[in-house]
C-alpha cells in the first residue's frame, strides 16, 4: 500500500473537533489481547509469529464491522514509512523499530481504528477520537473486540481476566488515555504539582509518543495504570472525573494569564508566529513549542485568521517522516531543520496570518 495518500489527511486524532477540543486533543482506548494457544511475542519463534499474523489477518479481513481495516506488513516497510505511521499514532515505536520478525498493523480509512499484530501482545487494538470522547471510543473498541473474538480464541483466565505478556496489563488489558494541551498550567509551573497528585491516584502521565517520551509542545497523555480488579467502565469514570478537573484548572490558568499579563502573552504569541514564519533552520522540538504558543494564542483570541486545524496540520507535517515524504526525499537532521523552516515559511505566507 502506498502510504503517501494519507499525507493530506489529518487523521482522527488531529481533527481538532469534539468536546472540550480547546484543551483535549484526543481520547484513545487500547486493548491488549492474546491468542490462547500461542506463546507471547518475546517467546515466539518466527514460524509462530507468522501463524499469529496469518490468523489475525484473516480475522480482521472477515470481521463483521462497519468499516474496512487495511493490513500493512510492517516488516516490509521502509524506515521512513514506519516512522510515518508512528507519527500518525497508528502504531507504537516498539512495533516500528524495536521489534523484528513478522508483524503488522491494520487500520481504517479515517485512521480512528488500528490493530497491531505481534507487538508485545499478539493483538493491540486501538480506537481514537478527537476531543474528549472516551465513552464513544470504548463503545467502538468493545465492538471491535467482539468482532475479532468471533474468529479468534483469546487467552482468558477466570481469575486474572485477559492474559497479557506483561502483568501490568493483565485483567481488562485496557489502557485509556486522554491527550491534553496544557500550556497555561505549564507556564505557571502548576503542572508538576498536578502530576504528583495524579500519580498518587494511579494515573500515569506521559509525553506525546507514549512510554518514555517527554512532553513536547505542552502535550500530555494521561492514562490509567490499573487493569486488574476494576471494570472498564469504572476506570473510564475515574479518568473522566480527573480530566474534568484538569480542564477546569487549565481554563482558570488561561483566564488568569489573560487578566494579569495579556500584553506579555500577546507578545509571546506574536514572536512565536514571527519565528515560525522567518526562521531558516528549526528543530522539531522548537517547532512544537512555538506551535503550542500559537495554539494557545488562537484559543485566547490573541490571533486572527488561523484555524486550530491549521496548527494541527503544521504540527504533523513538520514531524521528521512527514516532512521527508512532503519533500519526496530522505533528509538528515540538518537538512530536515532547513526543510522544516522552509515549509513553515511557505505555509504561513500562504495563510497570510496576521496578528490582531
Amino acid at each position: 500500500m502506498n502510504l503517501d495518500r494519507l499525507l493530506p489527511n489529518l487523521g482522527e486524532w488531529l481533527r481538532g473537533i469534539g468536546p472540550e477540543s480547546d484543551i483535549v486533543v484526543s481520547s484513545r482506548v487500547r486493548l491488549a489481547r492474546n491468542l490462547a494457544d500461542m506463546p507471547f511475542g518475546n517467546r515466539a519463534n518466527a514460524e509462530q509469529k507468522t501463524e499469529t499474523e496469518t490468523r489475525v489477518r484473516n480475522a480482521v479481513a472477515t470481521a463483521s464491522l462497519p468499516y474496512a481495516l487495511e493490513f500493512v506488513d510492517v516488516a516490509k516497510l521502509t524506515p521512513i514509512d514506519r516512522q510515518f505511521l508512528v507519527e500518525r499514532q497508528l502504531m507504537s515505536r516498539e512495533l516500528a523499530s524495536v521489534l523484528d520478525g513478522p508483524r503488522g498493523v491494520a487500520f481504517n480509512e479515517t485512521e480512528s481504528v488500528s490493530v497491531m499484530v505481534n507487538e508485545e501482545d499478539h493483538l493491540r487494538l486501538q480506537v481514537m477520537r478527537s476531543g474528549l470522547a472516551l465513552d464513544e471510543a470504548w463503545t467502538e473498541i468493545d465492538r471491535l473486540d467482539d468482532a475479532l473474538e468471533a474468529n479468534l480464541a483469546f487467552a482468558f483466565h477466570d481469575q486474572f481476566g485477559y492474559l497479557t505478556a506483561c502483568p501490568t496489563n493483565v485483567g481488562t488489558g485496557m489502557r485509556a488515555s486522554v491527550m491534553l494541551h496544557l500550556p497555561a498550567l505549564s507556564l505557571t509551573k502548576e503542572i508538576e504539582k498536578l502530576f504528583r497528585s495524579l500519580q498518587k491516584i494511579n494515573l500515569v502521565v506521559r509525553g506525546l509518543y507514549g512510554e518514555g517520551s517527554r512532553a513536547s509542545g505542552d502535550l500530555y497523555q494521561i492514562s490509567n495504570q490499573v487493569t486488574l480488579g476494576k471494570s472498564e467502565s469504572r476506570v473510564l469514570q475515574e479518568i473522566r472525573e480527573v480530566i474534568a478537573q484538569i480542564i477546569q484548572y487549565e481554563r482558570r490558568a488561561r483566564q488568569l494569564l489573560l487578566k494579569e499579563r495579556r500584553q506579555a502573552e500577546q507578545d509571546r504569541v506574536a514572536r512565536a508566529i514571527g519565528t515560525l514564519g522567518s526562521a531558516t533552520m528549526i528543530t522539531s522540538e522548537e517547532t512544537m513549542e512555538l506551535l503550542s504558543t500559537v495554539r494557545l494564542g488562537i484559543q485566547l483570541h490573541l490571533l486572527d485568521d488561523l484555524p486550530p486545524t491549521t496548527v494541527n496540520q503544521l504540527f504533523i507535517h513538520t514531524q521528521a517522516a512527514h516532512l521527508q515524504k512532503l519533500m519526496g526525499t530522505p533528509l538528515d537532521g540538518e537538512e530536515r531543520n532547513a526543510a522544516r523552516a522552509k515549509y513553515l515559511r511557505n505555509r504561513l505566507r500562504e495563510l497570510g496570518s496576521h496578528q490582531r
Binding site: F40, N42, F156, H157, D158, C166, L228, K230
Partner: protein, 164 residues
Amino acid sequence: MKCQRCPKPATFHITEVFGHAKYRDFHLCEECAQRHLANPDASLKAAQTATPPLPDADLTDEFGGKHCPACGLKFVEFRNSGRLGCPRDYDVFKDELLPLLDNIHGDTKHAGKQPRLQPMRQANAAERERLRGELESAIRKEAYEEAARLRDRLRQLDDPAPGA
C-alpha cells in the same frame, strides 16, 4: 535486574541474616526496599508465602528451579525481562505472581469484560492447551498408548463431528 516485588529496576540489594548460616537475598527498588526496611518481619512473611520453601544451599537462585511445561520459561527469566512467555505461565507461576499483581494493581481478581461470543471456544482452547501439555509429557515418558489417546482427543477438539 528487576525488583522482586514490582516491575521497577532493583537498586537495593539486601542480605538478611537469620542466625547460623541462614540468610536470604532481596533485590528491590527504592520504594519496595523502604517498605521492606520499615517492616522487615511483615515483608519477609510476604516473601515466604510468595515462594515455596527452599532447600538450604540454593538461596540466591530461588525461582530458578520451576519452569513452564508449555513455553519453558523459568521464573527468574521473567524477573529479568518483566515479560511472561505464554498464557499458561499465569497458572504455573500463580503463587509467585499473586503478590506482584497485588502490588501493581492493588487487586488479584479480574472485574471487567469477559469474552462474550465464544465461551465454548475458550473452554476448548484451554482444554486443548492442557491436552497438548499432557501429550508432550506422555511422549517424554514414552507412554505411547496414553499419547495416542490424548492425540485423538485433540483431533476431536480441532475437528468436532458434524452437528456436534
